[in-house]
């Protein structure tokens, strides 16, 4: 056995193991190439989940015969013009994708530059090259990959069903499409159009929102708030869903760094932190965030498929995202999800009168002739009184009803639980308990922020045993935790000593709390439990300190509640992401009655 260089073909197969994991990774590499080539239309075709055929055609800048021959060689790329890894301005730069794909599949590339007289064609099969030879083709590049993994049967065996592989590819294209709203994408799978995204016009924000709506569902558009923030050379833009528009998993959270879709645990942590007050811990918001940083501030050369990135200053990125999201949500404090009112409208049914006891024709005839009887009316009145009542009051006597209030003027309280208010162009139904609870909660939070968290010093400091990494992690964030009321210090290698706890928590399970915190810091890089616990205490106190359902409210009281809701940030939802009020537009009401 002697040490020797491996044959180039084997080297490429090994590289393919990292870069080409499944059909979706081929799609990703090829679509990224198309985008790097400045394409405005990218058309993807897949057969049998990409196993038998993947075609990516674009109308980008194309390649001439010399470039084409080089493109399929290892470490040949046009995307690193300055030979400087700290200035990566394109998706690719490693020069590995095409030779890797060529090593495990039958690859053909046809390409023509804008001004060339003809296109060129090159073919790689199991690492052997044929061409380039001239061929007819419009300007742009068409890459066809057949029989993926035919050269590496082991990998072939690990492919999932065609449907699963296709879904992965759809996911990949969708993520790239979100970042490139000015490029049209289509995906044909086994002859059916699976995805068709038009070029979006308008400025970047409008185009993005339209594209996000096309991908994440049209409900996202009315429920999204714009996120925009700059800090220290970083720029964050994008859209975040309002808290009341949420879902049960984190799949609709997208982050793009310099246009590159990344899956980063950092994002999960910061999103939970930013939405902490508004969502139950098992609900997740929809959002798409685009972070632009100087190329030297981020290392994308961490992962062959570039799904992970590393920031030079992760703390600053975290701060920027949390700050921007919180700011955006505060602005949107009054935007309850439109899906809530849609759901309300959907639940409404045209009124049907309760069936009357059958009457003989004779009775009916007689009743028709009889004069209207006072007693009959009185009877009706009593049944009406038995029903849960609405307390109606005359707004004119209470205040100037004409004022321009977003939540309108209270007209009535129904079932002693809901306030019905009339606005300029519709009506608002407020859940009085949820709304008041939120107001009290916000007031308590403001107070806490104002005075700082009172800390109870421990007579018997608690030593919590953890593994070494967790203990270090906690100790490193000691300053931040101290602000939240938990004072700790490293105690030997694998333990921390707790000296002070938030007085709010009283006689609490310090061990459990600290262990949860350590887990969260490891998972998300965020200390959420502590705030969750305090929010719980505040929430319970807020619940006890607020008006309940079943309390009869007078007109001035209802109006005061509405006015305070208008002035309080985040009054649009309760702590669990449920809306505190819904708005019904007059047009919607008219629709209910078939007037439109």
């Amino acid at each position: 056995m002697t040490v020797r260089f491996l044959p180039p073909n084997l080297v490429n197969q090994i590289a393919a193991g990292e870069v080409v994991e499944r059909p979706a990774s081929v799609v990703k590499e090829l679509v990224e190439n198309a985008l790097d080539a400045g394409a405005s239309h990218v058309d993807v075709t897949m057969n049998d989940g990409g196993r038998s055929r993947i075609v990516v055609a674009d109308d980008g800048c194309g390649m001439d015969d010399r470039e084409l021959a080089l493109a399929v060689e290892r470490h040949a790329t046009s995307k690193l013009p300055d030979d400087d890894l700290t200035k990566i301005g394109f998706f690719g730069f490693r020069g590995e994708a095409l030779p890797s794909i060529g090593a495990v599949a039958r690859l053909t590339i046809t390409s023509r530059t804008q001004d060339a007289p003809s296109a060129w064609y090159i073919r790689i099969e199991g690492g052997r090259r044929e061409g380039p030879v001239p061929t007819p083709h419009p300007a742009g590049t068409r890459v066809e990959v057949r029989d993926l993994f035919y050269a590496t049967p082991a990998r072939l065996k690990f492919l999932k069903t065609a449907r699963t592989e296709l879904n992965h590819a759809v996911d990949t294209i969708e993520r790239l499409a979100m970042a490139n709203p000015t490029v049209a994408f289509t995906l044909m799978a086994d002859g059916r159009t699976r995805l068709s995204l038009e070029v979006e016009d308008g400025d970047l924000f409008d185009a993005r929102l339209a594209r996000l709506g096309a991908i994440m569902g049209k409900d996202f558009v009315p429920n999204a708030v714009k996120v925009e923030a700059d800090r220290g050379g970083m720029r964050l833009t994008g859209y975040a869903g309002v808290p009341t528009y949420n879902r049960g998993n984190a799949l609709a959270q997208h982050m793009f760094v310099n246009g590159r879709p990344v899956r980063d645990r950092l994002l999960q942590g910061v999103v939970r932190r930013a939405y902490q007050d508004f969502l139950a811990s098992n609900r997740y918001p929809y959002l798409a965030l685009f972070l632009d940083v100087l190329p030297r501030e981020v290392d994308v050369n961490v992962h062959p498929a570039k799904a992970e990135v590393r920031f030079r200053d992760a703390g600053q990125v975290r701060g920027l995202i949390i700050g921007a999201l919180k700011h955006a949500l505060a602005e949107a404090g009054h935007q309850a999800s439109t899906t809530a009112s849609d759901a309300a409208l959907g639940a409404m049914t045209p009124g049907t009168l309760p069936p009357r006891p059958s009457q003989s024709l004779f009775d009916v005839a007689r009743a028709g002739q009889a004069p209207l009887q006072e007693t009959g009316l009185a009877e009706d009145q009593t049944t009406y009184d038995d029903a849960p009542t609405a307390v109606v009051f005359d707004p004119k006597t209470d205040n100037g009803a004409d004022g321009d209030y977003p939540l309108g003027v209270a007209r009535a309280q129904v079932h002693e639980t809901y306030i019905v208010a009339q606005t300029e162009d519709g009506l608002v139904i407020v859940d009085q308990h949820a709304a008041h609870e939120r107001l009290v909660y916000e007031r308590m939070k403001a107070m806490l922020a104002d005075t700082g968290v009172a800390r109870q010093l421990l007579l018997l400091p608690e030593v919590v045993d953890l593994d070494e990494a967790a203990a270090q992690c906690l100790a490193a964030r000691a300053d931040e935790l101290a602000e939240l009321g938990l004072v700790l210090e490293a105690f030997g290698d694998g333990a921390v000593m707790i000296r002070e706890v938030p007085a709010l928590l009283g006689d609490t399970d310090v061990q459990g709390l600290v262990k949860d915190l350590a887990d969260e810091l490891a998972d998300f890089g965020e200390a959420l439990t502590l705030q969750d616990k305090m929010a719980d205490v505040c929430g319970t106190m807020a619940c006890h300190g607020s008006i309940r359902a079943g309390r009869r409210l007078g007109g001035p009281e209802m109006n005061a509640l509405l006015r305070e809701m208008e002035h309080t940030p985040h009054a649009g939802q309760c702590n669990h992401g449920r809306p505190t009020y819904v708005t019904l537009k007059l047009t919607d009401i008219e629709k209910l009655f078939g007037r439109r």
Partner: protein, 371 residues
Amino acid sequence: MKLVIERSALLKSLGHVQSVVERRTTIPILSNVRLDAANGSLSLNATDMDLEIVESTAAEVGQKGEITAPAHTLYDIVRKLPDGAQVELAFGGEGQLTLTSGRSRFQLACLPVDDFPALASGDFSHTFSLSATDLRSLIDRTRFAISTEETRYYLNGIYLHGTDSDGVDVLRTVATDGHRLARVELPLPDGAAGMPGTIVPRKAVSEVRKLIEEAEGDVMVSVSDAKIRFSIGDTVLTSKLIDGTFPDYERVIPTGNDKVMEMDCKTLSKAVDRVSAISSEKSRSIKLNMEKGLVTLSASSPENGSAVEEVEASYDAGQLEIGFNSRYLLDIMQQIEGDAARFTMADSASPTVIRDVSDGSAVYVLMPMRV
């Protein structure tokens, strides 16, 4: 089994035993009280597997025997019978206990005595006797500091042990929740020397306290490594001990505190109560600012406003400001029976020691708050 007993006697005994019985339990027989009739007395026995109570009371026993019946139901019935009524209890072996009084007649579902768990008695290594008053004082002045946090189970009780305090042998009770601590001691009774340190669970503490409320005379206390038994008149309460190590409390009681403040306990109590009314947060923090001869209490809340009250005190050391949880402070003030309380402090982040000026047997330690 057949017996006749005076309603008030039965009620008193049932009242004692039924409070040991848990309201909800997964083992049906634990809801029952065991009734044992023999030799002119009725013995009642209840347990929750950790705590057992046995009480005997005089009764006219017609036919001896034993049975178990639902404790809370029985207690409820007897409580509602008219004063001075005679109660007849009879069990003929057909699965139901018959209770007759006047013209009332109840049939109660029973469970066989054989299933009734007995707390293995075992041997007690030390036995000593203590006056009910002394035991009351040991319990009352410490129990407020017992922790309710179940994860620190070793703090969920009172630590009762014998030790040496400045050359005098004493019997001590200590309780702490990690924020404050209370320590009370009495001269060591005969027979207690060398007893093992015992952590008496919260429930046992409260049951004993109820039993000695009315009791005069002495209480016999027996301890072993795993159990403690209190014999109070005709009642015997046996409890398992908390199996854990009580922290080394001596280390957290500071000895070097040099700033001494004395003030009238009632005045301080009332002032703290008044000033803390303003603080709306759950922790109800309050600040004490000490200057020569004067303590200024203050509290503020962004919502409610602020409060300040000045109280005269004897204080000679330098100016010091220290924050406390007002509820903790009031708890301690309530324990002090004398007129004046003495605070000894070091700084605003170290434990403060509080004592009754006229009684050195109790020491309270309170950890400040940072506000």
